[in-house]
Symmetry: D3
Subunit: 243 residues, 6 copies
């Protein structure tokens, strides 16, 4: 239809930004992916280590963990460098815990053996949705790292059991929309991050209404948008991994 849309970007309510997944972006990591959701660009690397954290030692299973960071000038105004401030902020910790849980949800940790895969998600350029882009890209980096392990015959069974992707949805000026960019995110009543797997199951839901509470029907509309968006993202991941 041709009715003018209220989204600053001109996108339809259910339209993702341009999503690109570039494998092998850097050379050293076992998996290295540059994922872009429009102007949001996150470098996701997967590093394989032959140790597990202390709480798992001797249990015959592996671990998947994530770290997240934003380059100081990935944003519109410069943020302090967390390494210089001497600690990671609450938002950073919250996001990296989320990424870790999301990725663990698609891994059989027994099949991984006593190894850790660390997913580093570093935001080179931010325009909203960095955590959902990070999860979506980190999944591809994880698969590449697992393929590397298979090529090295470190594992015989593929520990990756299904795919995981994430997208944000929100109510922007009364309209439920998919994949918020920064202009929408900063002027939005409700913001929800949704992580799903390729079986259509929910792995994580995080919805927040700072200003205005959302009703059950709004929630339903948002979940519907997320389901559609994630199906597309999982197709993009598959395509990237087939290349």
């Amino acid at each position: 239809m041709n009715t003018p849309l209220p989204r600053p970007s001109g996108r339809a309510a259910d339209q993702l930004r341009d999503v690109r997944i570039e494998r092998g972006y850097t050379r050293h990591a076992e998996g290295s992916v540059l994922v872009s959701f429009g102007d949001t660009r996150v470098l996701c690397t997967a590093s394989v280590d032959d140790r597990v954290p202390a709480f798992l030692r001797g249990k015959g299973e592996g671990w998947i963990t994530a770290e997240y960071g934003m380059l100081p000038r990935s944003t519109n105004t410069r943020n302090d460098r967390e390494a210089a401030r001497g600690k990671q902020g609450g938002r950073t910790l919250e996001i990296q815990r989320l990424i870790g849980r999301a990725l663990r949800a698609c891994v059989d940790r027994k099949a991984l053996g006593e190894r850790t895969i660390t997913l580093d998600c570093d935001v080179l350029q931010a325009d909203g949705g960095t955590r959902t882009a990070a999860i979506t890209g980190a999944y591809v980096a994880l698969v590449d790292a697992v393929r590397w392990m298979q090529a090295k015959r470190m594992i015989t069974t593929n520990p990756v059991v299904g795919a995981v992707a994430a997208v944000s949805v929100g109510v922007y000026r009364g309209l439920p929309v998919l994949d918020l960019d920064y202009a929408e995110d900063s002027d939005c009543d409700t913001d929800m991050n949704v992580v799903m797997n390729d079986g259509g199951g929910f792995i994580e839901l995080q919805g927040t209404a700072e200003g205005h509470a959302f009703r059950r029907d709004e929630l339903d509309a948002l979940l519907g948008l997320a389901e559609t968006g994630i199906a597309t993202l999982i197709a993009k991941q598959r395509e990237a991994l087939a290349a």
Copy 2:
């Protein structure tokens, strides 16, 4: 019905634990509430300060913030004291950010004026659901602090616009249940924390499925349980505040 229930506590699926809200628990704070959800006991104090954080100075509005802590032996095995370790962990930061957002959702910050109310939520004894108990109790402490300000004629308009409460829900051995205790929480596929207001609107939804993804119908059942539970909690708050 008399079919035996699978919950370790013997509660019905939609049954809250025994909830108590004790006002004036300590003497110095402008609001001081001991909230109990069964064996979970959280001391929530509200402190009024005549300053706002730097980012709000001169804007004519106030701030609501929260801090959360667990006493080292509030839990089954002793946890390191965060003050001694030299930093608050990711879980702590995540919870206190959540509490702050939840309480801000029921406050008109213009009506508060350039003041900060800090909600300290300290867990004396933990048995699951500490963050939802904290939000539920902190709301009552906040109202007491606002009444104190009104009594002192610091404000003329009541800045509290509605009530806020929170509860956890989860899928325990296949059954959607309300208000998880520790025994259920640690053996549960899906865990969701829900914050709602007295208008039935959602303020925050945080659902996590580490092991097993949840379907849309499970989500719907959980949201239904949360709606019922929160309605009861808001009635308990009202009753406590009327005492």
Copy 3:
């Protein structure tokens, strides 16, 4: 005699505040005591751990250590949370070192075996004398933890050799007084904390005169008050432990 006394509380110079010792205040710890010296309320828990610090490993003896904290709004105006500031202040470290030394003075560490008992003393409400209340309460929590170990047959000999209690004394407006509350403490020339055992021996003496130096005869009067006060406190401990 009936001459009116200058103490803000109306207490006699040698009169303790109302002292209560409530065992089993929380559920998880091996010992858990809420001790009150008037409006000062401190939660003391004792946690048993099957390890000792590195410097004691393999030496066949145990360790007793203490940690101290004040809830941010235990005081008249809110204090910063030490966990959020990222370090324990000098006063905190000084107090927890004192509590640890005091309790070690009544324990045969060989009889304890290679175990650590940690005494967490958290101030829920402060009105002066928190460290002396903490020592007095922690002793009872320690005995409960030892009884728990005996019940579990972890030890055969009782490692607790005598009782320990503490009280503050000071010169308030020229009058030596026992058990200072906050109103006295903040308007007092000399303040002394005294730790003694049930044999009448001194374990720790810490006397400070910021404004005005104290004479030997004042010191003697203060020590006399402390001896009396501690005898009463030790009787209260015994009574609580007999209940």
Copy 4:
């Protein structure tokens, strides 16, 4: 000539790696440059801020400062994230101090006015020579930021007085060579970083011989190589800035 060369890369002794300078690599910063020295890739952004550090306030001059970081998996094996470890290491501090001094050497700080330009140099991929690439790229980002200020009419005089670039030189298996890559750097007796301006003046020299001390004639050969290399780098900067 066709004699086989000892350099692992097959480069001639006085041959730089392939150097690329890509302006406008990210969108938000006033200057944003991806600089590559072979496989070493550093993202250099310049951020303009209208404040100066406390020690310069009210003095009518500006400041140039730099921060440096390596993404955890920019290297062959993963390094701990400095933000997670809670501090920047000695090497990082040393490098960012060097970058700051180098860039200040080409700026008239009076002409800049009371403003700070921060150069963030983040290593996306490391293969030796990250600090020299960072200085060379940061210069171009700095010029872009100054042009942005000129376009905004924030300044009338160009504060950049000359160009600055840097290169490493070293004695590799007895042969003085230019622009060490990681394979050479890690197997090298002497390693020197040289910063020069476009007038052929030295701004910084840092030569280190951990294993084997270097003679004056070796030093002379290294300085000769550096002079040649830097002349080429300055030509590359000019070319990039003319594009």
Copy 5:
């Protein structure tokens, strides 16, 4: 008399070590004293600053504060450098708080005006009694700083009202002794640090009995020794200041 004494050093029970107070030990500080109690050597500097801490601003009075440190190899085995570990330990904080309180006890802070004098006490060589040597030496450095201020006509009234010195006493193998050295300190049942002024008043008493509690008569004997020792130390300070 010739009865053999039990002290490892051969000193009489009431005999101080050789005490030296060397003024002007370093050049930059307003007061700079090297104090030796036998082999214990502490460099005490006094620095005058024209600001006061925030809590005193605008109140027309000054502040005296102290910092304490031990060089890593001032002791028999090397201690970690506190600057490298990233924090000052509990013992350090306790000692520097003690030194600050002790010195404030002899200063009229109104007469000082809104200025801070910082006493840095750095142990070059330790052999027991570093805190008491520090207090004794810091007093002399403080007087020198005050004289410097008087010479500069920064103050008209002498803010130093009396002298302060400190000594340790203890029960060594049953015998009350004065001024413990390391050999005695580490093999001692009771250890007490005593700070007094030149009027014979007590400023601080800190007695500790980790192993064995001390009786009132032992305490009396220790206080007697301390009184004698401090009288001698104050005479030494006077002599040094007269030189």
Copy 6:
């Protein structure tokens, strides 16, 4: 020649300050040297430890490391104590890394066995050139520690293979000068620290031109001065070690 020289101290351009090396300055360390370059006084201790850092364990070689600190009032105005600030600054880390590399350059680490020698260099009084004095003095402390090990028959081969000393040079008001004091250092265009061994080889060169770039001929003049100065310093070390 008799032309008046511009150096504030009246020294000739190639004249070192009065250099003194006092061995056995403190009692506990295996090597303890007070080195003075004029008014710059640095206490250098060498401590032998029977362990090596983790990265060397089991490799049959030792380690030499250094730590550096300035007493807060070693300088003209008081600097914050790094232990109190909670971290070592960039300058400190840079200097201690330099001292460590310099000293490792004269040690055969295989001959040392799996031991660490830590060189603590603490500045008691600063007047420029603290790092070069530290290296020069630490070398002597290192030799003393090695002699102590030989006396204890811990090693049979001398691991010290040659001598190491350091000096600063700079261009002061157009004139290349040797061994800058603070007055020169703070008013100097170019400042270079040079570390050399007794074979005339360069171990470390660190030249900086914040204001004005230096030409190749100035560099040559500076290197010539450094060579002369270091030859003298090495003779002073030899003399001190022969005493």
